[in-house]
């Protein structure tokens, strides 16, 4: 491409087609007349072209003035490149390197403790992409008996993918004499609550061991794609708090089913306070995942 063609292309690039052709023609006439003048002065063709283009000055400022703003194609490409890089970073951050779904215990601040509850626990959930809602359920088991329970479901309709949310999850025994009296001799009042859903009280025979397991599952494809089992706390009548020791899972079974009904792409965090009692087989549609291998057989059923 000759210097003349290069100059004209750079000076007129980005202009609307009709304007560009008109302007290019005008610039070419100008440059050719200059070249003719230089040739007449004794310069050869190449020298004359060089001098004529030199006389015009840099093409970029001319192009900017033609366009009427500084958004030249070069600047446009730079901006486009930055947008692509930024978009790539956002995609990578949100999808490629997105944090894995997790459930973990986090420290509870003193002001969050509720005095009349024996213990209190805070969960931090890292939710996977496609999360649209979250349910929390707490179920309770009674030692040696068919499980009864409470189902503290909660729905968070405004969740964002990969969002980390802290869910207050509490369980404990009421210590007041009144509560124990109302439950009858040999019973204690057990309180559970999840998030701001409110709390549930029930009478539990003593002694009673109540533990907790938390898992996270997705029903997007009607299969559980991930389960995160994490022991919460083990409660005994003496309000002894202890980690569930490894290897004791087999002695804990899943609580009786409390069905959680939700749309697809719903992630569910369940805190299951299980007992040592064997469970009924239950209706498959109302069956929670059981601890251990059975959990992987869990199938979400939409109602």
């Amino acid at each position: 491409m000759s210097p003349v063609d290069q100059y004209i292309r750079r000076a007129t690039t980005g202009l609307p087609n009709r304007t560009r052709l008109d302007t290019a023609a005008e610039l070419r006439v100008h440059l050719n007349e200059r070249i003719t003048q230089y040739v007449a002065q004794g310069f050869d063709r190449a020298e004359a072209e060089h001098l004529a283009v030199e006389q015009m000055g840099p093409a970029e400022p001319v192009n900017r003035r033609f366009l009427g703003h500084v958004f030249t194609p070069r600047v446009g490409w730079v901006v486009l490149g930055l947008l692509v890089v930024a978009s790539g970073g956002w995609l990578a951050g949100n999808y490629l390197f997105a944090p894995a779904p997790t459930v973990k215990n986090v420290a509870v601040k003193a002001e969050e403790l509720i005095p009349f509850i024996g213990d209190f626990q805070m969960l931090q959930l890292t939710l996977p992409k496609r999360t649209k809602a979250l349910h929390i359920a707490i179920t309770l088991g009674e030692d040696g008996a068919t499980l009864s329970g409470t189902n503290l479901e909660h729905r968070y309709p405004d969740l964002r993918p990969n969002q980390r949310v802290s869910i207050p999850l509490g369980v404990g025994f009421l210590h007041t004499a009144l509560a124990s009296t109302e439950c009858g001799a040999g019973n204690r009042a057990l309180v559970t609550f999840g998030s701001d859903h409110g709390r549930s009280e029930m009478c539990v025979p003593m002694p009673s061991e109540v533990g907790s397991w938390t898992f996270l599952m997705q029903n997007a494809d009607n299969v559980m794609v991930q389960d995160v089992w994490q022991p919460l706390l083990l409660y005994k009548p003496s309000v002894m708090v202890d980690e569930v020791p490894p290897g004791t899972r087999s002695s804990w079974s899943t609580p009786e089913g409390h069905a959680i009904v939700g749309p697809r792409d719903t992630w569910i965090a369940v805190s299951a306070f299980a007992s040592t009692a064997p469970l009924n087989d239950g209706d498959p549609q109302a069956e929670y995942p059981t601890i251990g291998d059975v959990v992987r057989q869990y199938r979400w059923v939409e109602f």
């Binding site: 100059y7 302007t23 005008e26 006439v29 050719n32 000055g57």
Partner: protein, 114 residues
Amino acid sequence: MANASTDAKRGTIDLAILATLEHQDRYGLEILTEVQRATNGSLTFKEGSLYPALHRLVKQGWVNTRWEESDSGGAPRKYYELTDDGRRALEAKRQEWRSVRDAMEVFLNLRGAQ
């Protein structure tokens, strides 16, 4: 954003172009040649900057264009002619320029006398 220097240059070029077209329609290179001849080469600018200035004047409605065959047998040339608005703009700019010039002369004379 244009700075004061850019605005001043732009104003100068605009005034020079309008004045060059006051009595005769001219094409780009002819405008340049006439400006240089009339100012004995005192007023010079990169030739490329002429055409964005001409486009700006056309957009403002101060100048019209037409393509015309070259009288020397070369390629057709694009001629520029002043519109009525362009003549009024020229007169306004001329007055403005004279006011500035007179004010500067008074100012500089005073400073020189001190």
